[in-house]
């Protein structure tokens, strides 16, 4: 539940610094959840360590460095707080119901159909969907980057249930891509801010059909 609340908080909080802090809390929670699962599958301790270093330390640092010199608040989003509460509640209910009702259709292993792995799959899909919701409904490019981070957190969390025995090289490959992707996205958004004077994606209208 805490992972879902932090996802929602990171998406809807208009203060950019607070949104980043909420993201950092989620990264810590993610590390904790993976560590708890690691008591059953020891290989997951590496996952937890990698998540702590990349998601909590590196990505949080990247986000905090980026917002220096930015306005305190994000550009007003397409969908405000109140409708977001309703939409996110619906997303949570629908995804949770689907993943519980149709778990045998969705889960590739028997392990993933059992508790607590089943709930973990549901939560990871909700975090992923909320990340996507953030990307689609935020006008501020910085907030779309936070949406991307949430989406990646959801993917990361799902692997705990779906593929707990994944090899170290593969894990490192995946997270390296994620960190570099977020870094480059922030770098390009910074360029946009310097050149175009805004991070409002509604004003990115130079290119169209």
């Amino acid at each position: 539940m805490a992972l879902i609340i932090t996802s929602f908080g990171a998406v809807v909080t208009r203060n950019l610094r607070y949104a980043t802090y909420i993201y950092a809390i989620q990264a810590l929670l993610l590390t904790t959840v993976i560590s708890l699962f690691a008591t059953a599958s020891p290989t997951l301790f590496l996952w937890a360590a990698v998540a702590f270093i990349t998601k909590f330390i590196i990505i949080t640092w990247l986000l905090l460095s980026f917002i220096k010199g930015m306005p305190e608040y994000e550009i007003k989003a397409i969908i405000g707080f109140a409708p977001s509460v309703i939409i996110v509640t619906l997303i949570v209910i629908v995804v949770f119901e689907i993943t519980h009702k149709y778990v045998h259709f969705l889960a590739p292993t028997t392990l993933a159909t059992e508790e607590p792995y089943r709930t973990n799959v549901a939560v990871s899909l909700i975090v992923f969907t909320l990340g996507l919701y953030g990307i689609l409904t935020r006008r501020d490019a910085f907030k779309t980057a936070i949406g991307l981070c949430l989406l990646e957190n959801g993917a990361h969390l799902s692997l705990v249930s779906l593929a707990p025995g994944l090899k170290e090289t593969v894990i490192i490959g995946i997270v390296t891509d994620v960190v570099l992707g977020v870094y480059l996205l922030l770098f390009i958004i910074r360029g946009l801010r310097e050149v175009a004077g805004t991070t409002d994606t509604y004003q990115l209208t130079e290119l169209h059909w």
Binding site: L132, I135, L166, K167, G173, T176, L184, L185, G191
Partner: protein, 497 residues
């Protein structure tokens, strides 16, 4: 001394990297950057020839317990990547020094930025070579995502508003899209792991052995995830919105690589992953067929309304990628043969057209069709080569594009997909219309300004790759049997319905 398969594959993938590093370190040097880039892109091209030879002799080559594996399908892509990469680097040398970048940021900064450009260029090349050499389903995702990361700054290279906007969309949409295929890869890995007693469940070759034991619902779910993920990378409609902006705003040598090979990486990944399912679950191919037809038509219609030459070619790519996907979706031997043939003809025609547009930009700093006209009088070689590319794209004999499209049409007829045959012919007509109209207006139309009179042919280092691609487009149209051994082996390898 005989080079082992492991050494050969490693050299192929890693050879651009030391040059990438050297160019980065020597980015202030005015004389070393370009030669190092050309050597760094030539080595993989040179190595891909013995690799191809060995694959033709042995069927496939592999290394590190089959973690890296090159078969006929990979060989087609390897050859394409190294070939286009090498000639794009030659094209870039003069082209990149002409651009207003120098006027805007000053010579010293431009010089350093060019160093970064060439360094990323070589790194990008290496990631693409890695993508088509891996036999590991999740590393395939890692490598495909690495190609996006390596090329994002190249797309935004000019660092103006349009380039940054294109780079932002490119990185965000591709990263989000491709993440879906990570779920697909993990799902297939997890589902197949219990059935694989010996060996890694991450390897395509091992997963293939047990695919029939995986429940149909998991296959269906993975197929949808792969279609969304790798389909985005391939620029298939409706996952294509990143593509026109990136192609148009990237420096032309990068447009050449994006159009010639990078989008095809997505198709390669789709083919590899769908290749797991198709023998047991032919229904999956129908998904691809629907997307293919939508891409062919939408791309062609949108290309017709473009006035920017690079955007026109970009939308044309959406359409042409649709043709390749269509062949794969038909799923017969001839369908695959036509798809691979179309892939090669597209690898030649689209970079050729982008380079011709690059030559016009080099000469006139214009790329809008409405501002151009009568350029052919001043740039006859560029004009002739543009027409070769445009005719090949439209499927006019005796060029490579004619035979590839004819093969696809025969494949649809053999499969009794008459509706598809009609739509393919319609798309070819639309392609002919927009490509020839653009060529006619730009090269034969009325000169729109006095400025056009100053146009002259681009220097030899720009014309040389254009001529090579034009000649090959012609040769592969006249002597299709040159490609037969490779295309036949790759098609026989593909999973049939």
């Amino acid at each position: 001394m005989v080079c082992t398969n492991a050494n050969l594959i490693l050299m192929l993938i890693l050879s651009p990297l030391p040059f990438s590093l050297a160019v980065l370190l020597l980015r202030r040097s005015e004389v070393l950057k370009e030669p190092l880039t050309i050597i760094g892109s030539f080595i993989p091209f040179a190595i891909s020839v013995p690799v191809l030879q060995r694959v033709m002799d042995e069927g496939y080559i592999s290394a590190f317990g089959n973690e890296l594996l090159i078969d006929h399908l990979s060989a087609i892509f390897l050859l394409g990547i190294s070939f286009v990469g090498f000639f794009a680097s030659i094209f870039a040398i003069r082209y990149m020094r002409q651009h207003p970048l120098i006027a805007r940021v000053g010579e010293e900064i431009a010089e350093r930025r060019l160093g970064i450009f060439y360094s990323l260029f070589l790194f990008f090349l290496s990631t693409m070579l890695w993508s088509v050499s891996t036999n590991n389903i999740i590393i395939l995702w890692v490598a495909i995502e690495a190609t996006t990361i390596a090329s994002a700054l190249l797309v935004s290279f000019y660092w103006d508003r349009r380039a940054l906007e294109a780079g932002y969309k490119y990185l965000l949409l591709l990263t989000v899209g491709v993440t879906f295929s990570l779920f697909g890869a993990v799902t297939i890995y997890a589902a197949s792991a219990p059935y694989i007693a010996n060996g890694s469940p991450l390897l395509f070759t091992n997963i293939k052995e047990v695919i029939s034991q995986i429940p149909a619902n998991i296959i269906l779910l993975s197929a949808v995830l792969f279609t969304m993920g790798f389909g985005t990378k391939a620029g298939l409609a409706p996952f294509h919105p990143w593509l026109p902006d990136a192609y148009a705003e990237a420096p032309t040598p990068i447009s050449v690589i994006l159009s010639g090979i990078m989008t095809e990486m997505g198709l390669y990944a789709l083919l590899r992953t769908f290749g797991l399912f198709l023998p047991a679950y032919p229904v999956v191919a129908s998904t691809l067929l629907v997307l293919a037809v939508f891409s062919m038509l939408l791309g062609a219609f949108l290309a017709m309304v473009q006035s920017d030459l690079k955007r026109l070619l970009a939308y044309s790519s959406v359409s042409q990628i649709g043709y390749i996907a269509m062949g794969l979706g038909v799923g017969t031997y001839l369908g695959y043969y036509g798809a691979f043939y179309q892939l090669i003809s597209h690898i030649l025609a689209k970079p050729l057209l982008f380079m011709c547009v690059g030559a016009i930009i080099y000469s006139l700093a214009l790329r809008n069709i409405e501002e151009l006209g009568g350029v052919g009088k001043h740039m006859p070689i560029t004009m002739a080569c543009f027409f070769i590319g445009a005719f090949s794209l439209s499927g006019i004999p005796p060029l490579a594009g004619f035979l590839s499209k004819l093969t696809l049409i025969i494949a649809t007829a053999q499969a009794h997909l008459w509706w598809l045959l009609l739509l393919t012919l319609l798309t070819s007509l639309l392609t002919l219309f927009y490509a020839v109209r653009a060529a006619y207006t730009v090269f034969w139309g009325e000169e729109k300004s006095e400025f056009i009179k100053e146009a002259k042919e681009a220097p030899l280092s720009i014309l040389f790759p254009i001529l090579v691609f034009s000649i090959l487009t012609f040769i592969l149209g006249v002597y299709p049997q040159l490609l037969y051994p490779l295309l036949n082996s790759a098609s026989l390898l593909a999973p049939f319905k």
